[in-house]
Every structure is written in C-alpha cells, then in structure tokens.
C-alpha cells in the first residue's frame, strides 16, 4: 500500500488537529500547514485556541477574532484564521440551547457561570471543540487546521466534551434540581449531609451559587450532551486526523510520547509526527574548503569543536525522534530544521509550509 502524502492528507481530511507539549511550535506549524493547504487550492481555516494570541503575530495580523478572518494570500484556496474566544463561544451556546430569554439571562448573570468562563481549566478545550464543530459545518471551509492549547495532558482536549457532560450530569446536583423526584426522599438525607459538608468547607454561598447554576442549566444538558456526542463522533471519524508536534529534545520527546500514547489509547492514529526545530544537518567536506586553509589553528579548533558539538546533539536528537516514531507507529515523520533565525514573517511560514507539504 502506498502511504498517503501530506498533501493527500490535506486533500482528503476535514480536520487536522495538531497536538503536543507546550513550546514546540504548534502554532507556527498550524499556520504553516494552513498556508500550504490554501496554496494547494484547499479552502482552509486555521483555528488557534491559544490564549497567548500567537497566531495573529505569526500571520502578521493585528487581531483575529472568534469569527473567521480572511487572510489575503492570493492563493488558489482561501485562508481564514479564527482565534477562539471561549467566553463568546460559551455565551453563544447558552443562547442556542436555552429554552427562554429568562434562562439565558439567569445563566449569564450567575456568578459561577461568569467565573467558569474566566477561570475553569479546560474551558478553552470545551469551547475549542464546539468551535471546530461549528466551523466544520461552515460551507466556506474544506479543511480545518487546529492548534490545540498548551496543556500538560492530551486528555484535556480529547476529554473536553465528555467532561462537560459529566459535569452537567452530576447526581447530587441533579437530585437537588429535580422538582418532584420519588427518589428524593430516601436520598435527601445523604444529599443534605454532603451539601452541609461542602458548606462547612467552602462556605454556604458557594453551594447556593452552584445549586443556582445547575438549576439555571436545567433542560439544557440534553443539548450539550447530544452536541458532545456529535463532536466526539467528528473526532473519531475518518475526516479527522492528528499530527503530533514535538521538538527533538529528550525531555520534550518524553512528554510528546506521553501525548502520543494517550491518542493511541483513545483509538486515534497519528498521521504524522512533526519534529520541529531540529539541529540542522551540515553536509559537505571541510577539506575542500578554501577559507579554512587561511585560518589560524586556534580558530580552526573553535570551528571544529563547535561542529562536533552540534553533530553530537543532532545525532542524539535523530535517534530519539526515530525511536519515538517507531514506538507510536506513526504513519510518517516530518523533519523541520531550525533555521537559526526563527519565524518572523508570513514568508517564513510559507517556506516552512512547503517543507512540510513536500515531505512524504
């Protein structure tokens, strides 16, 4: 069987999710792949979920919002960028599933809800999934390139829909909300005891706010639950694939391997590993060089010692990344060399794009 090329993947998939540890350059890779896809004639949107707002910088834009912004590339396919605004996305979901305007107002005014969008860890992930789903159904886009938020754990992202549902499904709070449950009587003592404990520990007001929050949410869980199932289905479908981004440094590789193993344990396969910012390979032969003949011995020593250090480091990096690729049974490995200059412009991103796209 001939292996799919990166270009094949971009042409056949609808959602490419870039995952991996923090600080490895996921955002730049996502932007580059999106540029490459657009240049190849695919109508593409790149979604960044990173609160650090890096993609805007990389694409040379002042702002990218919750709604897709077109980046004029003059490319065969269009390129849009979206930066997730978790607050706005969550508010929109509430409006969508609420039964009445009063319910919308009650939830938006609830202190727990307000804090939820501001502070809850994992909220970025919940809303990212929602946004992906929404954009997936947007006829303007054939392909979504998704940059995942920096998290210690790949599960944060994959688990997001499930976690939101189980949060909304909590038994104790369901019982409190339940208007006339026949189960209420036998359970109420235990429930009251639990609530009393919580009140003693966190203060009664928090319990009241939490109860109010769940009451306000009543009737909306079904909407969220079926949405979570749909989002989960999209992730599991043939249309979605994962690229695992890492740097080839030992510690990062250990974390990346962990991400990869979690993906596999969820039944996802890894279409590509991107080994970003590798120490470059300097090919050639010093002996045929003209300038080296003119250098004093001490300078020659410095140069050769420097080259040795770099080659040694490159050797370790390449071995580690190869081991990881084998271990995770990834379909392919993309090497991206560090150019020493960073990525500062859209041209740099386009260059990176062509090296990613042209790789097998």
């Amino acid at each position: 069987m001939t292996k799919e090329s990166v270009l094949d993947i971009l042409h056949t998939k609808s959602v490419v999710i870039l995952t991996g540890p923090g600080g490895v350059g996921k955002t730049s890779c996502a932007a580059s792949i999106a540029i490459g896809a657009a240049l190849s004639g695919i109508n593409t949107a790149v979604v960044t979920i990173d609160p650090a707002r890096r993609l805007a910088n990389a694409l040379g834009l002042e702002t990218i919002g919750n709604d897709p912004v077109e980046i004029p590339m003059g490319s065969a396919g269009s390129l849009h960028a979206v930066m997730l605004d978790a607050d706005a996305t969550f508010d929109a979901l509430i409006r969508k599933y609420a039964k009445s305007e009063a319910q919308v107002e009650a939830i938006l005014a609830n202190k727990v809800y307000q804090n939820l969008t501001q502070y809850l860890s994992g909220i970025q992930e919940y809303m990212a999934m929602e946004k992906i789903f929404e954009l997936h159904n947007d006829p303007r886009f054939d392909l979504l390139i998704v940059d995942t938020p920096p998290s210690a754990n790949a599960l944060d992202f994959l688990d997001a829909p499930r976690r939101l549902v189980s949060f909304l499904d909590n038994k104790v709070f369901r019982i409190i909300m339940s208007p006339s449950s026949t189960f209420l009587k036998p359970l109420s003592f235990a429930t009251r005891a639990v609530l009393k404990t919580i009140s003693r520990v966190v203060g009664a007001e928090i319990v009241d706010e939490a109860v109010a929050f769940f009451k306000d949410f009543e009737g909306m869980e079904d909407g969220f639950r079926s949405r979570a199932v749909e989002v989960g289905d999209l992730l599991q479908s043939e249309k979605t694939t994962f690229f695992l981004v890492t740097s080839p440094r030992t510690n990062t590789i250990i974390d990346a391997k962990d991400f990869g193993e979690k993906l596999l344990s969820y039944g996802f396969s890894i279409a590509r590993i991107i080994s970003n910012r590798e120490v470059p390979l300097f090919i050639g032969d010093d002996h045929n060089s003209g300038v080296l003949d003119d250098l004093v011995p001490s300078d020659l020593d410095i140069l050769s010692e420097n080259l040795t250090k770099i080659e040694l480091l490159r050797g370790v990096e390449q071995k580690d990344i190869d081991d990881m690729t084998r271990g995770l049974k990834a379909d392919g490995l993309i090497h991206v060399a560090d150019n020493g200059n960073g990525l500062t412009s859209i041209e740099d991103l386009a260059r990176l794009a062509s090296s990613i796209i042209s790789s097998n």
């Binding site: 600080g23 490895v24 609160p51 650090a52 910088n57 202190k111 727990v112 804090n115 939820l116 502070y119 809850l120 994992g122 920096p150 998290s151 210690a152 949060f167 909590n170 104790v172 235990a190 005891a193 639990v194 404990t197 919580i198 009140s199 003693r200 520990v201 966190v202 203060g203 007001e205 928090i206 939490a210 740097s247 440094r249 510690n251 974390d255 470059p280 300097f282 050639g284 032969d285 010093d286 060089s289 300038v291 080296l292 003119d294 250098l295 004093v296 300078d299 410095i302 140069l303 010692e305 420097n306 080259l307 040694l312 480091l313 370790v316 560090d338 150019n339 020493g340 960073g342 500062t344």
Partner: protein, 308 residues
C-alpha cells in the same frame, strides 16, 4: 553582546517560598531542580513541590539517592494534588468519612470545577501550611504553565468574593497574606530568549503587577546560546568567503541563534523594570543529568551594559 557576570542559582530562590513559573517547555523544572540542589548543597533544608512529575524532576529524585553530598541533607520532592490536600484537611478536622463521600458522589469534582481557583487555592494553602510549619528553609514550587499562573495567583482574592465564611475564606486570607509578604515569598519566571516566550513573559509580569500580589523576584532566561569567539581576522575571513563547508555553516548557525537571543534579551531588558534578569547557558545536550544541573552557572545580566 550583552554583559553578564556570574551569580548563584540561590539568587533565584532568595525567600522562603519561591514559585517558579513560565510557559510550557521553557525549563521551569530545570530551574526548580537546579535551585533545590543548590540550596541543599548550601546546607538548607529544601522541599520541591510540583503538580505533575516532569522527567527532569523524576530523574533528579532518583539520582540524588546515590549521591553522598545529599545524604545528610536530602531535598524532599513532593507532588501536590488538590483532591488529596482537601481530604487531608478534612481528615485532620475529623471529617474523614464525609470526605470520602464527597469523592464517591463526584460532588468534589463538581465543586472544584464550578468554583474557580479552588484547586489552586488548595495547593497554595498546602504551601502556606508547609511555610508556617517552619520545617523547610526553602520551599520551591514548580508551578503549572503560565496559562494557569493567573488563576493560581488570583485564586485567594477571587475566591474571597464568593466565599464569605468557611474554610475557603480563612485559607484565602492566609494564602493572600503569604503571597503579599515580600520577605517570605517571591516569584521567579523562566523564559527562553525567543520571540513568543519573551513577549509572554513581559505580558505575564505586567499582569502580575496588576494583581498587586506576589513580588516578581527574578526572570531567568534559560538556554542562552553563545557562539564561540573566533579571532577578528578569522571571523572577517569567514564572513567574506561565503564558504559553505560544514564547520563554517555550523558556526554561522550558532551565531545566528546567538544574535536572536541577544535581541530578545535586550527586548526583555527594555520591557521589564525592577526585576533581576538572570541567564542560564545553552548546553549542547539533549538531556540534562543531575551533574549537569549542579554545574549550571547562572549569570546576572547587567542592564546598563553596552547594548548594541
């Protein structure tokens, strides 16, 4: 060139409690572990806390057991889990059985999810308790990546708005007091001399100052790469020649990276005031052993240097 002079890793942990923060992958654990080891070697009792086990921490913990210099004064490594801290608290207050029920009903996770910052507060409360116990002269907390730092630092104040009584209220007050006490606690931010980490550090420091909470003591620029110095004539010959032999290309690569690092450090110097800026060298290694960490020389970057 940016001037610097050698300093001690101890400078990054001058108070009893130091929170080490920064975005993912910048080397928080490297700095935390190296500082913990330096403190232990200086004869101080030290505990290193973290919320997840990093490779570097796990390796160090294993390696030090075989090292004589830590035999009498062994740094303690401890993992902090919010749920466990809460259960421990309930147990010491005679509420052990209710604690178990909180867990079995899943209420604890709802509360922890619904109440912003409660996990963070529990972790800070544990740190505060360790600080009050006086058991350790240095408490180093390898904090989660910077996205969560604001939640962590704002948790005491944020929760006070919601909780007027109870455990949260009293813990919030005490944690806030510890964070505000510049003699007892401080924050060390770790960054890399690269564009996004530098921009984020500048932003993070501005946000922390807005919170008017913990003092930012030091900013550690990790992996500062330095190109080896050729003679002036040798350098000129190389530049002029456009030679493409591997050793020349490799030299140009390291020089290009050094140039970026210099530019980013000068951006830090101009973007941040009143914070000591330290740097750790880039080691041409993929993995750091405990002896690499012990040998790490931290350098203080001199602000009034001759910046180009």
């Amino acid at each position: 060139m940016i001037e610097s002079h050698e300093s001690s890793l101890l400078a990054a942990t001058s108070q009893q409690v130091t929170i080490v923060a920064g975005k993912g992958g910048v080397g928080k654990s490297t700095v935390s572990v190296a500082s913990a080891l330096a403190n232990a070697r200086a004869g101080r009792s030290v505990i290193l806390l973290s919320t997840d086990i990093s490779t570097i921490t796990a390796n160090a913990e294993k390696e030090i057991t075989a090292r004589e210099e830590y035999a009498t004064n062994t740094p303690v490594f401890q993992l902090l889990k919010a749920e466990e801290i809460l259960i421990e608290y309930l147990e010491t207050h005679g509420l052990a059985s209710l604690g178990k029920r909180l867990i079995s009903t899943g209420v604890i996770s709802v509360i922890a999810t619904a109440v912003p910052g409660i996990r963070e507060l529990l972790i800070l409360a544990k740190i505060k308790q360790l600080a009050q116990s006086g058991q350790y002269e240095r408490i180093i907390f390898d904090a989660p990546a910077s996205g969560h730092l604001m939640t962590l630092l704002s948790s005491p104040t944020g929760l006070k708005d919601i909780a007027k009584v109870g455990l949260l209220k009293s813990q919030s007050d005490e944690v806030e007091e510890l964070l505000n006490d510049r003699g007892r606690s401080g924050l060390t931010i770790v960054t890399l001399p690269e564009e996004t980490p530098v921009s984020e550090s500048i932003e993070t420091i501005a946000k922390i100052r807005e919170l008017k909470s913990i003092a930012v003591n030091a900013l550690v620029v990790n992996q500062r790469i330095t190109a080896p110095k050729l003679s002036a004539s040798g350098l000129a010959a190389i530049i002029e020649s456009g030679d493409s032999s591997p050793s020349v290309k490799a030299y140009e690569y390291v020089t290009a990276r050094e140039k970026i690092a210099d530019a980013e450090i000068s951006r830090l110097i101009h973007g941040i005031s009143d914070v000591e800026i330290l740097e750790l060298p880039y080691l041409f290694q993929s993995n750091l052993s405990i002896s690499d960490l012990e040998g790490l020389k931290i350098r203080e970057i001199i602000r009034e240097g001759n910046l180009r």
